[in-house]
Subunit: 356 residues, 2 copies
Amino acid sequence: MAKILILGAGVMGTAISFPLTDNGHIVHLVGTHLDGDIISKLQAGYPHPGLRLKVAESLKPYTHDKLAEAIEGVDLVVLGVNSHGIEWVAQALSSVLSPEIPILAVTKGLAGDGEKLSILPDVLRAGLPVKYQKDVQIAAIGGPSIAQELAARRHTCVVFTGTNQALLDKLAGLLRTNYYHVWTSTDMIGVEVCVALKNVYALAVGLVIGFLEKEGKAANGADMHNLAAAIFAQGMQETAYLVEKMGGKSHSVYSLPGTGDLYVTCQGGRNSRMGRLLGLDMLYSQAKAEYMPNDTIEGASLALAIGETVEAMVKRGDLDGEALPLLRTMIAIVCDDAPANIPWDKFFANAAKEFR
Amino acid sequence: MAKILILGAGVMGTAISFPLTDNGHIVHLVGTHLDGDIISKLQAGYPHPGLRLKVAESLKPYTHDKLAEAIEGVDLVVLGVNSHGIEWVAQALSSVLSPEIPILAVTKGLAGDGEKLSILPDVLRAGLPVKYQKDVQIAAIGGPSIAQELAARRHTCVVFTGTNQALLDKLAGLLRTNYYHVWTSTDMIGVEVCVALKNVYALAVGLVIGFLEKEGKAANGADMHNLAAAIFAQGMQETAYLVEKMGGKSHSVYSLPGTGDLYVTCQGGRNSRMGRLLGLDMLYSQAKAEYMPNDTIEGASLALAIGETVEAMVKRGDLDGEALPLLRTMIAIVCDDAPANIPWDKFFANAAKEFR
């Protein structure tokens, strides 16, 4: 039996508590400064509002100001915040974390500093006090995992990734159940690049929902699945390019972190909802302000986080712009309010090169 | 302007006529011995029953007994039959084909002879008279292409594959339109293995439709997308293994032929319908006989075509059985009426090996 702190009481952070409490571990769930309402509800014994399920009775919910108390004696910290919360988390943990407590991050994203792209575990590490940076062990979770399904104990397959195989085996042992199937991978770059990029490519696949709504079904009843599938494939191909470029393995691309996670993300959610609005010819800034002002749209967040850096890297020749036409189109749509036009001529260009 | 014969008047064979006639080519559409009704309808000016659209007025429909007349002077033969028709086609063409006429096959499948697996273009070649086998050029089409959408002139992205780049460029030039986007690839093995296997893996993803119907939504409304995505990813991973094993390139896996075509095939169709029945605990032989006696289910056809050979190759050590748990499960379901159980312990085993 272990004692585990989960930081972030949104749907994903809280869903992770289900395999943990099912395995008999003690779980302390600490909300962020934005999770006050959720923690109040859980403390009063109500279901989690996003998961629509009660957490285990053994779980202890804490507000963020009680972090120091909640973290006492824990064996593991799980990060369940979204990509915007990672800097807050680094700061919050700085005064209370011991370097021997490993961190398991559910958060997905990439960061750009104008010069290069970084995976989120590295951003987190850089945000911690210098004395921890070398010693703290950070692992991460990737793979297709809709939180509501995990919390309902429906079969979910994920990969735990990190550089220390012994730690990964230990973490997998803590969380594995007969519905939460955990594999491990030391290809941290590959996994993290895949799971971050899937959000922006799911946003791209979502465009087709809007295109179809705008044009309607064809006279013979035909939809636009061919187009959605082509965008899906272009997304995977660009993911493979960036994974390789950043030093990851292509194997992560055609397994759970890449193709599995993009598939599940295209089944609905906020990226798809925003994609639809963009496909209906709405500009990003307008769609965000009018229809989704309070939602975090991870695909758009990623475009904003790395857009400038990607373009700078293309300009310097560090990235091949021809290999990333869809990513660059999505960056233009989100960062510059460009219209949602598919760059047909530029698609699969890299494929043609590689194929020959 | 070229003169082109399409052999097979089903939905896919006929759909290919749309970009061809839009480009001003003369198209002769020859039905197989099973397409008599369709050809009669087209000759009478009615819409194609499966596509629910009229073909171009310039298109000439022929019954199969008129093949010798229809093939006279053509520059290209397009094969639009399904995998069961390939031997019939080889025989039918044997007496009328000139070896300088190239063949472009839409047909997808693999064959097993107990010893090894072969891609369909090689099966076709072997079925032609010996005097043609060396000289006739065979190319093929792969990628996400629902026939009804192509015929409705909705954006469709495909790869033409073959060993002769000049021929591929010429064929792409004949068929390319502003809605039919054609790339080329000389990785014929990779493309053909991907587009054949996608049928059996779409059948596997389809199981989840039945699982969900059987168990219903969870108390919190959760579906089973995580499970479907994991099966999708396992399918892609096994595809990558077989592509590499047969001498193809992994690049085809994470592009249009692999991930794109599997994605579109999971959006519905006969593989999904059969998958649902199997997921509802019906045995394959019963489901086929009672509910889909007259349907070709390509995923099941593939399992039947290669099942024995795959198992023999695993037994001999020519294939790693641990790398193909899902394919072998689907073979057991289709060939031996095994129940539809997911082999969780065996999933992603190869990934773990490769990742480390």
